[in-house]
């Protein structure tokens, strides 16, 4: 699945991508799809699935603390929470 994913899918929120994937699966399962369409929506489904997987893989915890500068600008620093 190394095909280039359309930009439109890359920017899709996870929830919307998952919901569309489910719709595609249901449509394919209903069998009521023309051959051409069944292949093109399968391809879209595969792209959506890959997108969702990427989102789910991106599950690294990162905890940062906001630092307030004197000029009111904010920056971040790794948070060393005592009990972690």
């Amino acid at each position: 699945m190394s095909e280039s994913t359309p930009q439109e899918i890359t920017n899709m929120p996870f929830e919307a991508a998952l919901a569309e994937l489910e719709r595609i699966v249901q449509k394919l399962e209903s069998g009521d799809v023309a051959l051409e369409e069944s292949i093109s929506i399968y391809e879209r489904g595969a792209a959506l699935r890959a997108h969702c997987e990427t989102k789910l893989k991106d599950a690294q915890a990162k905890v940062e603390k906001i630092m307030l500068g004197e000029d009111g600008k904010i920056s971040t620093a790794p948070a060393d929470l005592d009990a972690r």
Partner: protein, 522 residues
């Protein structure tokens, strides 16, 4: 002046004596009263009035004490203050220096809370229309809470269990007089982060604090905090205290979590569930496509079976062709024969002897007819010739001459009579003409011309009645009483009143050579 043995104080001595007395006597008092005016000085010290229905006492709370307060002192709030009395010798005023202050019972605070809630609700800050849905899977979560303590750890642990995320912690005090200000500033600060900057903008906020007394949680009831939460463009979960504690921020937030842990659960879905669901979808997706292809394949094979064999499609036609080809040869043959027969029949009728007989017959009939034509003609002419001769004999010249002479005499007589009558007639006519001439003379325009009018004619001799259409330079002749003179039109035509019924003031300059109503002269 009466001599007394009373000692004499200086003002300072008296003031200081009073100060000592007051401080020693009232070095620890508890006083209950309603707060009057509350002033926070720049220095951070707080000056207040405490009062009941009859008396007022000044109170002061040093900066250090004020920052420890779990609530914000407000006018009208009933409090119990603990401290000591002191005086300020410079003004000889006494005041209570508060070391500790609490709201006088939960009832007082609740009443205040209720009143504020009503006020903010009336502004629409708690309206359900303002609530926004939380993002399904936030990328960055902003947490406003204390960096120490269990709350942030609880949140992070639960996030790790469900779906580890990027968390930005905005450290704040969650208790004390600075807390409300910091919490509000943190909510506003997160909202002020622009997308795409060095610090990622959170797509979800959690404002959290662990359990505590109503006073401990009081900062989450403060108006600035509630307003900041209501104004937050980023969806916000409030998680303050335990499930039974409700603070005003809970009404203004988009979701209220019973605990900080609960907030983490609302914030993210469970990753493993999603992975499982996604895996299920993947399997179904593949299977569904395969099944679709199989079905289509089966449909194709079934359709192919229904097709007739190609050679069977043309077999019939081939047979028909063969049959027709077989019939084509004989049919041609018989057609030729039929035509040959008809030709032979016609040839029989087309013989020269027959034609010669035909011509001879027609010649005979022609001769016969010409013979009868001649005989008929002479028969018609003879009687007419005899009639003509008879008429010619009756035509006699003498009779004709006599008739001519008679008519000539009559004509001469008539001519003589006509001459006589004509002379008489002419005389009468001359007289009549003369009389008419003189009458005519009387009515002639000549008389008018004598009165100063002139008659205008164009080059063709026609009378000119209208001057408007005359072009510049047109030649005219003017007939006066005594002579006729040639003139030329100069100047443009000034239009005189178009209708004679309109009385227009005659213009001095307008001297039309042709009076507009010349026709009426005659």
């Amino acid at each position: 002046m009466a001599i007394t043995n009373s000692p004499e104080y200086s003002v300072s001595e008296l003031s200081n004596a009073l100060k000592r007395t007051v401080e020693e006597t009232y070095d620890h008092v508890r006083v209950r009263g309603e707060l009057g005016r509350v002033t926070v000085a720049k220095s951070g010290h707080v000056y207040l009035d405490m009062k009941d229905d009859k008396a007022v006492i000044d109170a002061i709370m040093w900066k250090g004490v004020a920052s420890q307060l779990s609530f914000r002192p407000e006018e009208g709030l009933e409090v119990v203050a603990t401290g000591r009395l002191s005086t300020f010798p410079g003004r000889s005023k006494y005041q209570i220096i508060i070391e500790k202050m609490e709201p006088a019972g939960a009832g007082a605070l609740m009443a205040l809370l209720e009143e504020r809630k009503k006020k903010l609700a009336a502004e629409g800050l708690f309206s359900p229309d303002r609530k926004r849905a939380l993002p399904f899977l936030p990328r960055v979560i902003g947490v406003v809470t204390s960096p120490t303590g269990a709350v942030i750890r609880d949140i992070l642990h639960r996030l790790d269990d469900r779906f580890p995320r990027h968390v930005l912690l905005w450290p704040v005090l969650v208790q004390g007089d600075k807390a409300a200000e910091q919490i509000a500033a943190a909510i506003e600060g997160f909202n002020a982060i622009m997308p795409g900057g060095a610090v990622p903008r959170p797509d979800l906020l959690i404002v959290a604090r662990g359990g505590g007394s109503i006073e401990d949680l009081w900062c989450f009831n403060e108006e600035i905090v509630v307003r900041a939460a209501a104004a937050s463009e980023i969806p916000l979960i409030s998680a303050v205290g335990h499930e039974t504690d409700t603070t005003l921020i809970d009404y203004a937030s988009d979701r209220r979590a019973p605990t900080p842990t609960g907030a983490a659960e609302m914030a993210v879905p469970v990753r493993l569930d999603l992975l499982e669901r996604l895996d299920g979808q993947r399997q179904r997706l593949g299977a569904a496509l395969l099944r679709t292809l199989e079905h289509k394949g089966a449909d194709l094979r079934a359709a192919a079976r229904g097709l007739p064999r190609p050679d069977s499609l043309i077999a019939d036609k081939t047979q028909s062709l063969d049959y027709l080809q077989r019939r084509l040869g004989p049919a041609l043959q018989s057609g030729m024969e039929r035509r040959a027969n008809r030709l032979a029949l016609l040839e029989v009728r087309l013989r020269p002897e027959a034609m010669a007989r035909d011509v001879a017959e027609r010649m005979r009939r022609l001769e016969d007819l010409s013979r009868r034509l001649k005989a008929g003609l002479s028969q018609q002419i003879a009687p007419r010739r005899q009639g003509l001769q008879a008429s010619a004999q009756r035509l006699v010249p003498q009779r004709l001459a006599r008739m001519t002479k008679d008519k000539g005499d009559a004509l001469s007589q008539m001519m003589a009579r006509l001459g006589r009558a004509g002379q008489a007639q002419s005389k009468a006519q001359a007289l009549r003409l003369k009389s008419l001439s003189s009458q005519l003379e009387a009515y002639s325009y000549q008389g008018t011309l004598q009165r100063g009018f002139a008659l205008v004619r164009d080059e063709a001799g026609h009378v000119v009645r209208e001057g408007r259409a005359l072009a510049y330079g047109t030649g005219l002749s003017l007939t006066f009483g005594d002579a006729t003179r040639q003139v030329q039109v100069l100047g443009e035509g000034d239009v005189i009143a178009p209708s004679p019924s309109v009385k227009s003031k005659p213009r001095a300059k307008a001297k039309p050579q042709t009076p507009p109503e010349q026709g009426s002269l005659f």
